[in-house]
Symmetry: C2
Subunit: 340 residues, 2 copies
């Protein structure tokens, strides 16, 4: 197993990518290839001696966070994100992890590996922790203007992903709207609902923003604009909430005592609210495993993202997508014996 890590992507590149890759390689006993400028990466590696599990693949260019994705990817053929996906294409790596420009990661993945049959638009799946398990929110930012068929495909991709990689047998799917009644919501929601109702997926109807954290549905489908607002809002609220808790407790002597006694529990609480723990969001619909990390990712976030990439490869995510997706999209479930 070899994971290509975009060493030049993210706000704290290349340091966190290098350190995260080293930690992941050692903990998981896998190989990691750091893709980026050799000189810069070697400088980081020099102060962090690693085992032989980490190699460097040199390239000259970097796509910046604020560049227009498609143009950047087409012009910068020797950029770290393009080269990382090329390694997967040539069979030299099994998956890509990047904390860089997420649009460029998406575009590089599509250009190098192509889309899975039946997918018009690949999407990013956000994985939210709930009381028991996870909720998959798709799309969290790849596609801002969507048609009903796009949303329907997002649901089918998330279905195969959740079944393959999250151990969910027949995951329930809800459509994000502003009221549970079918008549509510905007035009996009009303038309998409009909597609899901005609499918054989476990569609439970419209759900609301509050259901993202209620844990009563496994997959929630929305366009990438709404999904990205939801993702960023929950990150921002998580940060605000931990700050409020601390300031309320610090405000009195009894509260300070509570902080002391509760240190361990509050640490676990904070960890639960910390998106970094979850590593990254899988890019679904391309013909290979790609994990998109937050631009502000820490070493531990990168390490966890590499762990997810390894897990998804082991779960045969792509093979399952290729086999099952066209069947779900055609309106009937994959049956034993369907595949030759």
């Amino acid at each position: 197993m070899n994971i290509a890590v975009d060493a030049m992507g993210g706000d704290h590149a290349p340091r966190v990518a290098v350190l995260g890759a080293i930690e992941a390689a050692e903990e998981l006993g896998i190989k990691v290839t750091l893709v980026g400028n050799m000189d810069i990466i070697q400088k980081e590696l020099a102060s962090h001696p690693s085992t032989g599990c980490v190699s460097v693949f040199h390239c000259r260019e970097t796509v910046q966070m604020d560049e227009a994705p498609l143009r950047a990817v087409r012009q910068k053929k020797d950029s770290s994100i393009v080269v990382a996906f090329d390694l997967v294409k040539r069979g030299e790596a099994d998956a890509v992890v990047s904390a860089g420009n997420s649009g460029a990661t998406l575009a590089s993945g599509v250009l190098a590996l192509g889309k899975i049959e039946g997918v018009e638009r690949p999407a990013i799946a956000g994985i939210f922790p709930v009381e028991r398990g996870y909720v998959v929110l798709i799309d969290v930012g790849a596609n801002v203007d969507c048609r009903p068929t796009h949303l329907f495909q997002f649901g089918a991709m998330a279905h195969v992903f959740a079944a393959s990689c999250l151990g969910m047998k027949n995951p329930s799917i809800g459509l994000l709207s502003i009221g549970e009644e079918g008549s509510k919501g905007n035009e996009l929601v009303r038309l998409t609902r009909q597609l899901f109702e005609q499918s054989h997926m476990n569609f439970v109807g419209n759900v609301e923003g509050r259901d993202i954290f209620a844990g009563n549905v496994s997959i929630i489908v929305c366009d990438g604009f709404v999904g990205n607002v939801a993702l960023k809002l929950s990150e921002g609220m998580a940060e605000a909430v931990t700050g409020w808790l601390r300031s309320e407790l610090k405000d009195s002597i009894a509260g300070k005592a509570a902080l002391l006694f509760g240190r361990r529990s509050l640490g676990k609480f904070k960890k639960r609210l910390n998106y970094e723990e979850y590593g990254g969001a899988p890019l679904l619909g391309i013909n290979g495993v790609g994990i998109i990390c937050h631009g502000k990712s820490s070493t531990s976030a990168i390490k966890n993202a590499v762990r997810l990439a390894v897990q998804y490869v082991n779960n045969r995510l792509i093979e399952n997508m290729v086999e099952q997706l066209p069947l779900w999209l055609k309106g009937r479930p994959a049956m034993r014996g369907d595949i030759n």
Copy 2:
């Protein structure tokens, strides 16, 4: 001052409306008129003796939570929400508070009182607590499909509201998008941005979901679909978070000690996350003060909503809207001497 409270609206009607109205009337020294079925309301009042500040205005009908708003309001002329706004129209009440069908509240308000000059679509302003003060998110659910001029008007309405009622002198306005760069976002955002850039409002550009809780901008503009998802998501997350905190602390002896010592502080923390404390969301753009409460509102939420209604009337919200809104919409600020 007399506030008309829709006694039949909300999941816990008429009990919470009656109790909230009584508490508000007594605490604030104002009059409250409970609008709804006399028999049902009298039964509640019988077990909660109140001062003479609370009166009942009888009507026969109720708009249910799941009814199509416009049709319900047109057909049920004698429903509590329609009659409540009629009281304002006739000068017998100064504002309306309702925890009922929010679409019907909006429609009744528009039909009875009309819209303020320059407003195509009234909107609901959600008020989010942040570290210091509040952030106004507009629209949180009145308009699912919007044009750029609608969003621009939402911003101008929130500007006048924040200046009149929240004591913000020149409130900063951000446009909710999925990246701070002007090139990002969907078509609606790109076109709306141009309108704000040409205005004299304190427009700071695009903001992201995380900015709702960061407190670095005073007003955030979005369509009612995105805004409602954001509102419900934050309510759901607030509930989940308080549950997680409790379960982490209960999980160990030290944690239980922390719960004991921190009882007061944790109570304040929980209160901060509780939407009920904030009372309700003002309906902006109609020619009168209307407050929309959560369907699940408690007595204390209704009381706080009445308090807000009184405050907004005292702040001369509608007079300020009528005077200032057309000037902000025309692209220049209201100047002393502008108004004859």
